[in-house]
Structure formats: structure tokens, C-alpha cells
């Protein structure tokens, strides 16, 4: 008898099983193939806009993705570095061979965690409560909680042109019956689709006609706990190339042969990651589309052709790839394919990621309708934490939209539901100024410590960091820069406006152009780089940060306006029928959550608020 069984060893499953075992739960991780644990079946990168911040948050809470990425990448860069601090985000090119290995080492170091191979085809459910799982060979394994992180493996079909093969990624098996069984227990099932581009043999690529994409030349890490361990000068290059008229012509000519346009796909594909045929059709006025070539691993000769995902038949893929400049003689080592799979309706999930229909069943990752390794890992972590908290008899850890991107992600899932695979974007976060790359630990580490995933030593480091920030804030408030002729010259040399009188460093730092780096000409601030960075951001953008906090407080106030669990929406007259149906289905916990449901209009919210005031004497 286990406390927790995690079904699936992808990015969600790894984080879920790691969290629950670390929190003292006897955990079993079931995977079809141990070699595929933490596999990266699509792009060879971790992070990206918004996603990179999710990885930082996972790390702050005590998850693994950040540190494993740090130990396995061969290129890393800060995106949006030229923009404001709120939208900066890390992305690395993670080595597809190294990443799973490092992850497996971490998992195997957990005493409470057992890893077993097996294909799950059914759950053991009694009185709407899950009691364990049933393997394909009929073996039953019992547990208090089951976390499903099955990725794209539920009734998966791999599609290439008109050819459809029942199979998971990499020709792995699929779970044929689990989704049907879930349906039987009362879960709504939807069909989604995603795709991956072709891989190209390195030696067949002519890189000379492409532009290089390099890593940053300053050391960077996702993790808050380790110093960079890679050699900045030995980072691998990626390359930028473009489609052309010829490519587009081939695509248009063969459009009907693709799985998507030939009508062979029933699943809904991600809006934010369209196939190349989608791009050509939808943006027919564009003369070219950007593509990137990225190495999959320094141990492999395969390169990933980002931006070129397609479900065309293989002969057309050959033609398409060869039309690209530099790939005229390219050898395709793996053809692109689309994959469709079953997912559960995220509207049937609580903010803790526990299912509303079946108690003690948690789901995380692509099965909940998301796309992306980072989104999956984040949910896996939260499912693992909340499953353990539930077994410990404690309240679930629910992150707010103003706490973390992870909070935004889960709130969106359980409030809005998904129609196509959900990808995190910075624009989804209304408080992104508060949800920065640089303050993930300040926001979340304490929560990680409280649930038991952050060690005493890590926590002390956090407290120390906070104290240093406070101290530096006081220093710059009191210490002043006297404008001597030398100081004046320093300002004039780089065309900065010379201060008219003696100013505190705080006043100076509020000017957009003045940094600690510049001030080090006059004063030695003996602080770590991250402390200086934090204080600089806090001072420079204080006006906006305060505005964001105010907005977050306002939201918090309506977040506190609870909607009683027993509310009967059929009794509220005048609600639009779509609003009534959505509210009844989603059962939002607060007025604020209700107001975020699509199809529920401001007028419906007003009616609901008035009803609550009348019926429940709601203030």
C-alpha cells in the first residue's frame, strides 16, 4: 500500500513524485519505460518567455526542473534583456541525453520513492474515491492518492499525412483504456493535438547561410542554490533561417495531404504553436517565416528544426525541408508528426488539482490540457505538494494570481477551461510586475519551506538575502554623493545629467540611467550582485511596483468575497443562460474567480453580487 501513486514519468510526474516522496509520502512512480523518464519529446529547450519564470518558481518552491536544467544545458540566455525587469525570462538549450539522466539521479536518491515500469489501464474507484490503479497485465496496486501525469499517452495517435498510428511519442505504447474508464467514472474527456518538427542530421546542414544565435556571455542559472557550472565560452550555437516562396508553394500545393487539412485529425491544436502549414495559410501575406536550428544534444548528431512542425506526408516533408536555404541536401533523421491524445476537462479540477468528481485523484500536465514541459512540471509539483498536504490533513497550497505564474496557470485552467493546449504567456499575468524572474525566491521560498520542500539551510539563505536587501535599502537612503569636480566629470563623460546638489544614492538610483555599476565609481557597495539588482529594481520601478501591489490588494478584496458552496444558480433569475451554465459547472469559489470565466459578463457578475447580498447578506 502506497501513500501516492504517480502515473507517468514525464516532467509533471517527476516533480509530483519528487515532491510527495520528499514530503514523507511513500510514493510509487509508474512509467512505461524507465529510459523515458523526463524525456523531452519536442523542443530541446527549457524556459522561454514566462516559462522561464515558471522554472524559477518551481525551484523556489523546492522542485527539480531548474537545477536539472542548470546541470544539463549547453546554452543559456536571458530573453527580453533590453526590456523591463518584469518580462525578463531565462531559456536554456537542455541536452536531451543529459537532462533525463540528471533527473533520474535526483529521483533515485529519494528513499521514499520507488520507480516501476508498467502501463496503467484503469483506476480502482469506490464510492467516487480512488483506491489505486490497475495495470495492463491485470495487477492491482493500492494507494491513498493517485496522481495522473500521463502526458500525451491517453489513446494517442501519431499522424503523418493520411497515416494514423495508435502510438505514443517515439513509437512508445499508449494507454488504450484509461481515458474511457475515466469517462465511465464521470470525467469529461476532450481530444487535443500537438505536433513536433523534423530532426535533421548535423553533417547534412550548410550553416554558412544562416545567422548564429549565441548564449549570453554572463553566467546565469535557473536555480537559486547553485553557482553556474557551465563554461560560458563553450556554449553551443543555434541558427536562424527562414522559409521562402518555394517552401510556401510546396505547402499550398500539398495542403490537403496533411493530417490537419486533409481532415484526419479530430483533436484541437495549440493556437500558440501552430504548424508551418497553419502559418502559411493564416498569414498568407507573409513572405517568410522564421525557423531555428537547435542541437538536440552534444552527444547526438540530430538538430531540431524549430518552427517547422507539420503533419505532411514524409515525401512532402522532404521537399519542404530541401526548399530551405542551407538544407538543400539535408538528411531528415526523424520526420515531423502530429499527435492527438485524450485530456480531462480542467473545469472538473479544484485549484488544488484534485478532481471534483473522484476524490483523491489528482491530475497534472498535458492531461489537464496544457502544453509545454514547464507548465507540466509546475502542475506536477503542485499536485505532489497538495496530495501530501491532504494526507497530512493540512489545507491545500493555492497560489494566487499575484503570487506566481503557477497561480495564474492553475487559476486559468480551473476557471476558464481549455479548448486548445494551454501555453503560459506573460500577457496572461495581470501582475507580472510582481511576478519577476528576479524575485521568485522572495515570493515563494517561504511557502516551499512551510510545506517541507525547502531545507533549513536554503531557508536561512533566504532570510539572509532579505536582510541584506533591507540593509542596502537603508544604506542608499542615508548615504550621499557629494558632487565634487571629479564626480561631475564622471557624469559628464557619459553624458549623464550632473546632479545639481548633494543627493542620496536612493535619489540617484531612481533615475532610469543610473545603476550601481555606475555608482561604483564613487562608492564601494559590498553586496552580492543579486542584492544590488533587487534594490535597483525596487527603487527604479517603485512607482509601478506600488501600483501593482495596490491592484493586487484590490483583487485580493474581491477574491475574499466567497461564494457559498451550496449556491443554486438556477435560483438566480436574470442570469444569461450561458453564464448560468458556466457558473453551475465551474462553481467558482469567489466573485473574482467568477468574473474571470469567459462567457460570464459584467452584468451577470453584478446580478450574482446583488443576489449574494440579498440571500446571504454578503458584504
Amino acid at each position: 500500500m502506497y501513500d501516492v501513486i504517480v502515473v507517468g514519468g514525464g516532467h509533471a510526474g517527476c516533480e509530483a513524485s519528487n515532491a510527495s516522496s520528499k514530503m514523507g509520502m511513500k510514493t510509487l512512480l509508474l512509467t512505461m519505460n524507465k529510459n523515458n523518464i523526463a524525456d523531452m519529446p519536442c523542443n530541446p529547450s527549457i524556459g522561454g518567455t514566462a516559462k522561464g519564470i515558471i522554472v524559477r518558481e518551481i525551484d523556489a518552491l523546492g522542485g527539480l526542473m531548474g537545477i536539472v536544467a542548470d546541470k544539463s544545458h549547453f546554452q543559456i540566455k536571458m530573453l527580453n534583456n533590453s526590456k523591463g525587469p518584469a518580462v525578463r525570462s531565462l531559456r536554456c538549450q537542455a541536452d536531451k541525453r543529459v537532462y533525463p539522466k540528471v533527473m533520474l539521479e535526483y529521483l533515485e536518491s529519494n528513499n521514499n520513492l520507488e520507480i516501476k515500469e508498467g502501463l496503467v489501464e484503469d483506476l480502482i474507484v469506490e464510492d467516487n474515491k480512488v483506491k489505486g490503479i490497475v495495470l495492463a497485465n491485470g495487477e492491482k496496486i493500492f494507494s491513498k492518492i493517485v496522481i495522473l501525469t500521463t502526458g500525451t499517452y491517453l489513446k494517442a495517435n501519431v499522424l503523418v499525412g493520411s497515416k494514423s498510428t495508435p502510438s505514443g511519442p517515439h513509437g512508445e505504447g499508449r494507454s488504450n483504456n484509461l481515458s474511457d474508464n475515466l469517462k465511465k467514472y464521470g470525467l469529461d474527456i476532450l481530444r487535443l493535438k500537438t505536433g513536433t518538427p523534423p530532426r535533421i542530421e548535423k553533417d547534412s546542414i550548410d550553416f554558412s547561410c544562416m545567422s548564429e544565435e549565441l548564449g549570453d556571455d554572463i553566467p546565469l542559472t535557473f536555480s537559486h542554490d547553485i553557482k553556474p557550472i557551465y563554461d560560458i565560452n563553450k556554449q553551443q550555437k543555434c541558427y536562424l533561417l527562414y522559409t521562402n516562396d518555394k517552401t510556401h508553394e510546396i505547402i499550398r500545393k500539398h495542403l490537403k495531404e496533411s493530417s490537419m487539412y486533409g481532415g484526419y485529425v479530430t483533436g484541437v491544436g495549440p493556437r500558440y504553436c501552430p504548424s508551418i502549414e497553419d502559418k502559411v495559410v493564416r498569414f498568407s501575406d507573409k513572405e517568410r517565416h522564421q525557423l531555428f536550428l537547435e542541437p538536440e544534444s552534444i552527444y547526438y548528431d540530430e538538430w531540431y528544426l524549430q518552427g517547422f512542425s507539420t503533419s505532411m506526408p514524409i515525401d512532402v516533408q522532404e521537399e519542404m525541408v530541401h526548399s530551405l536555404k542551407g538544407l538543400e541536401h539535408a538528411k531528415i533523421t526523424k520526420y515531423a508528426y502530429a499527435i492527438e491524445y485524450d485530456a480531462v476537462s480542467s473545469l472538473q479540477i479544484k485549484p488544488s488539482l484534485e478532481n471534483k468528481v473522484i476524490e483523491n485523484l489528482f491530475t497534472a500536465g498535458q492531461i489537464n490540457g496544457t502544453s509545454g514541459y514547464e507548465e507540466a512540471a509546475a502542475q506536477g509539483l503542485m499536485a505532489g505538494i497538495n496530495a501530501s498536504l491532504k494526507l497530512q490533513g493540512k489545507d491545500a497550497l493555492i497560489l494566487l494570481r499575484s503570487d506566481a505564474y503557477i497561480g495564474v496557470l492553475i487559476d486559468d485552467l480551473v476557471t476558464k477551461g481549455v479548448t486548445d493546449p494551454y501555453r503560459m504567456l506573460t500577457s496572461r499575468a495581470e501582475f507580472r510586475l510582481l511576478l519577476r524572474h528576479d524575485n521568485a525566491d522572495l515570493r515563494l521560498r517561504e511557502k516551499g519551506y512551510e510545506v517541507g520542500l525547502i531545507s533549513e539551510e536554503q531557508y536561512q539563505r533566504l532570510l539572509n538575502k532579505k536582510a541584506m536587501i533591507k540593509k542596502l535599502l537603508e544604506d542608499v537612503k542615508t548615504q550621499k554623493l557629494v558632487i565634487t569636480s571629479d564626480v561631475k566629470k564622471c557624469f559628464e563623460d557619459i553624458n549623464f545629467e550632473v546632479p545639481k546638489k548633494t543627493m542620496t544614492y536612493e535619489e540617484l538610483l531612481k533615475r532610469p540611467e543610473i545603476t550601481f555599476k555606475f555608482l561604483s565609481n564613487f562608492h564601494n557597495f559590498l553586496y552580492d550582485e543579486e542584492i544590488l539588482e533587487q534594490v535597483e529594481i525596487l527603487l527604479k520601478y517603485s512607482g509601478y511596483i506600488n501600483k501593482a501591489y495596490k491592484e493586487a490588494d484590490k483583487l485580493q478584496k474581491i477574491e475574499e468575497k466567497q461564494i457559498p458552496d451550496d449556491i443554486d444558480y438556477s435560483k438566480i433569475k436574470n442570469l444569461a443562460s450561458e453564464a448560468r451554465q458556466k457558473l453551475s459547472e465551474i462553481r467558482p469559489r469567489t466573485i473574482a474567480q467568477a468574473s474571470r470565466i469567459s462567457g460570464v459578463n459584467p452584468v451577470d457578475i453584478s446580478i450574482l453580487a446583488i443576489y449574494l447580498k440579498k440571500e446571504y447578506n454578503h458584504e
Binding site: L79, G84, K286, T426, S427, P512, A548, I558, I605
Partner: protein, 446 residues
């Protein structure tokens, strides 16, 4: 909102007919109970029927009943309107019968509230219904009608569209920093766009002053030293003896008001106590009041006595009023002119009424009333103007932020809040406190 509600929809008092409106699920059931004539439950929608309103066997009135079935009605519910003969007694009796038969008396503004909640009209339209009912001049009526048609909402919505296009573009820049086929919105591109939107908003704010003129009328204060003839001028302008006229200085201690209709605008004239240094307590209150009136007035007519030299008090008054709202009227042109004034003025007297038409014309000129646009899609109340001011402030903040060198993604916060403020005007964004305060302003009936 399950109740069926009723109210007298025409103004209460003596008129040829009065209209009683009933709205709600049971409107037809209830009216049928007290109506003798065609079976209303079987008639087509939007038809009129002749019959009698009866209290048991007693005939109360001979009426026409209009039946309008949902959803094509004002409230989107079933509506029955009873056209009865005018007169308070009959009308009230019918209302009583309806209440006895299961109707509830409509709260102030409840019909409009239902129209809004049932999604027939947006917030600006709901507000204009109230304005329409309370309109005091033909221009005010047109303004309210225009807004009821949704022209204000259209304007606000097009501003929001402009903003959201910019927001969307910048979000794409942030989420896809490496894609070069999307225009990157830099400060250089953003700044003029924001300034353009700000200008449009500020113009609307400016126009809203005109809307105040249209809705509430124009306040014209008449000031001057005691006994220069202010009250006589007022009486002549109003063509009635409203102010008390005596030859004892300081007689007028209260502010006396009267209104005329000038070119479709309501002009409120305000007589003030003469301004001078005084120790008389009652008069002192009047003098303080006068100062406030001057401050609140749209136009101030300074009356001077042409038969006397300019005094210290005169000069003080002239100085205290800004030129853009000052009109100088030199009274007593029938007597020998002793005053010497460099300023532009109008000369006249109240006996021959010389100069009074010029005075009216000058009011029109000064406020540029002839050029007030006829399309009239102005913001028409404090709530709307306040929100527009907030939007203007947010955009100003954004512009300042950009000019101070803050990154584009940072000032987006301000742009977004301007977008939200505009959404609140039309009710596209939910704000908790909105509805309660709003509907308490609505008048009964409509």
C-alpha cells in the same frame, strides 16, 4: 427580479391620458384580471386593445391596453401599458387594483434597471434614459436621445479598440522577442500614439463642459456694488418681478434665481447681494454667498453705474473675475455718463431696455454656444466624466513614464488602467460598487 412590477409612466397630474406600465412574467395574467374586453393572453404582440378596467363589477375607466411580449420590449420582459384617462384619482385607483392583483410597485429606475440587466441597453444608455426624463431643454433632450442610441458607447469603444491594439502588439513583442516579423513597439512609436489617444480623451472631457451647459443650463451671475441696478436688470431679463427692487442699498441679501431659454439653452440668472465691505451680519452672509456664486458661475455680468465715477469697490470686483467669463454692463445710460473705463463693455439701461439684447448676445458669444456641436455625444454625468478623467490621468502617467526613460512594458500598466477606466464607463468591466449607486439615481416610471 421575478416580481411583476408596475408604475405610472406618464407624469402624475392633470393630462388628457395617463399611462400605467406593467412589466414582468405575470404582466398579462395580472392585467387580464382587471380588464374587460379581448382576452389579452391570446392577442398578438405589439397590438392595442379597447376595453374597461373593472374592480369586480364596477367600471373604473374606459382604456386602451397595449400588449408587448418579450423579448422585443423595453425591459425584454412582457410589458402591458394601460392608457387611461388622466386625473390622479382614476390613475391611482388602477394602480391600486394592479397592486392588489399581484404587482409590486416599481422602485425608482427599476424598468431601466431591468432593461440593463436583461442586456437590452448598456450603461451609458441606461444613464441617458435618466437624463432624457430629467431634460429641461430641447438640447438636453437631444443629447440624452443620442446617448440612448449608443453613440457615446461607440466612441468609447473605438478608443478602447485603439488601446487594445497597442496592448496586444506589445504583448506579442514580449512573448515572442525573437520573432522579427512583428513590428516592435518602441518608445518612439508608442509615444505619439498615446498622445493622440490622450488628445481625443481630453477633447471629450472638454466637450463634457458643453454637456453640462446642455443638461444643467448655464449659470449667469449678476454682480456689482449695491444699488447699481442689478435686480432691475434681472427682472427685465426674466421679464417678471422676481427680485425685490428698492432704492435702499443692500436690499437683496439672498441669491435670487430665474431662468430663460436662450437658443435652446437654459440660462439661470443669479442675482447677488451687492459686494462691498459691510458690518451688517445678515448682509455679510449675503456677500460671502455672492463670492461663491461668482466662483461657480459660467458667466459673470458686472454691473456698473455709468452715472458715477469708478469706485474702489468697482475695481475690486472687476479684478476678482477672470476675463473669460466676465461681461461688463454699464447701467443708467439714460443719465449723464461719468464713468471712464478702458475695458470692453455694453452700455444700456433698464428703462428703455437699451443694451439688454446685446447682453444676451454676449452670453452666447462668450461661451461659443452657437458652435456647440450638434452631434452631441458628450459624457453626461459625473460618473462618466470622473472615469474619463482617470483614463486621462493614467495616459498622462504613461507618457511621463516613457519620457522619463522607463521601459515600454512597464508603462503598459498605466495604459491598461486607462483601458479599464474606459470599460467602466460603458459597463464592460465589472466594478463592485457601480450598480447600486447608479440605479438609485433613476427616476420612477421609465
Amino acid at each position: 427580479m421575478e416580481d411583476t412590477i408596475c408604475a405610472i409612466a406618464s407624469s402624475l397630474g392633470v393630462g388628457a391620458i395617463s399611462i400605467i406600465r406593467v412589466s414582468g412574467k405575470k404582466a398579462l395574467d395580472i392585467v387580464s384580471k382587471i380588464f374587460k374586453g379581448t382576452n389579452l393572453k391570446e392577442v398578438k404582440s405589439h397590438t392595442i386593445h379597447y376595453g374597461f378596467i373593472c374592480d369586480k363589477d364596477e367600471v373604473i375607466d374606459e382604456v386602451l391596453v397595449m400588449v408587448m411580449r418579450n423579448p422585443k420590449t423595453y425591459t425584454k420582459e412582457d410589458i402591458v401599458e394601460i392608457n387611461a384617462h388622466g386625473g390622479i384619482n382614476t390613475t391611482n385607483k388602477i394602480l391600486e387594483l394592479l397592486l392588489e392583483s399581484g404587482c409590486r410597485l416599481a422602485e425608482p429606475g427599476e424598468f431601466t434597471k431591468r432593461a440593463f440587466l436583461n442586456g437590452r441597453i448598456d450603461l451609458t444608455q441606461a444613464e441617458s434614459v435618466n437624463d432624457l426624463i430629467n431634460s429641461t431643454s430641447s438640447r438636453a433632450r437631444n443629447l440624452a436621445l443620442n446617448n440612448l442610441k449608443g453613440t457615446l458607447a461607440k466612441k468609447i469603444k473605438s478608443l478602447r479598440k485603439e488601446i487594445v491594439d497597442i496592448l496586444a502588439n506589445i504583448e506579442v513583442n514580449i512573448d515572442y522577442p525573437e520573432y522579427d516579423d512583428v513590428l516592435v513597439i518602441t518608445e518612439d512609436i508608442l509615444l505619439p500614439k498615446l498622445k493622440d489617444i490622450l488628445n481625443k480623451i481630453n477633447k471629450m472631457l472638454n466637450d463634457s463642459k458643453n454637456s453640462k451647459f446642455i443638461k444643467e443650463g448655464i449659470n449667469v451671475a449678476i454682480v456689482g456694488r449695491p444699488n447699481v441696478g442689478k435686480s432691475s436688470i434681472l427682472n427685465k431679463l426674466l421679464d417678471e418681478d422676481k427680485a425685490i427692487v428698492t432704492n435702499i442699498a443692500g436690499t437683496t441679501r439672498d441669491i435670487v434665481e430665474g431662468s430663460i431659454n436662450l437658443n435652446g439653452f437654459l440660462i439661470n440668472f443669479i442675482d447677488t447681494a451687492g459686494i462691498r465691505k459691510t458690518d451688517d451680519k445678515v448682509e455679510k452672509i449675503g456677500v460671502n454667498k455672492s463670492k461663491k456664486v461668482i466662483k461657480d458661475a459660467d458667466i459673470v455680468i458686472v454691473v456698473l453705474n455709468g452715472h458715477e465715477k469708478l469706485t474702489y469697490d468697482d475695481e475690486k470686483i472687476l479684478k476678482s473675475i477672470p476675463n473669460h467669463k466676465k461681461i461688463i454692463f454699464i447701467n443708467k445710460s439714460d443719465l449723464k455718463l461719468k464713468i471712464n473705463l478702458p475695458n470692453k463693455y455694453i452700455l444700456g439701461n433698464t428703462y428703455s431696455e437699451e443694451g439688454l439684447d446685446s447682453l444676451k448676445q454676449e452670453i452666447i458669444n462668450k461661451l461659443n454656444l452657437e458652435n456647440i456641436s450638434k452631434d452631441m455625444t458628450y459624457l453626461s454625468n459625473v460618473r462618466q466624466i470622473d472615469l474619463l478623467k482617470k483614463a486621462s490621468k493614467s495616459l498622462k502617467d504613461a507618457i511621463k513614464g516613457l519620457e522619463d526613460g522607463l521601459p515600454v512594458d512597464m508603462v503598459l500598466i498605466d495604459v491598461k488602467s486607462a483601458y479599464d477606466n474606459l470599460g467602466e464607463i460603458t459597463g464592460d468591466i465589472y466594478k463592485d460598487e457601480l450598480l447600486d449607486t447608479l440605479f438609485s439615481n433613476f427616476c420612477l416610471g421609465k
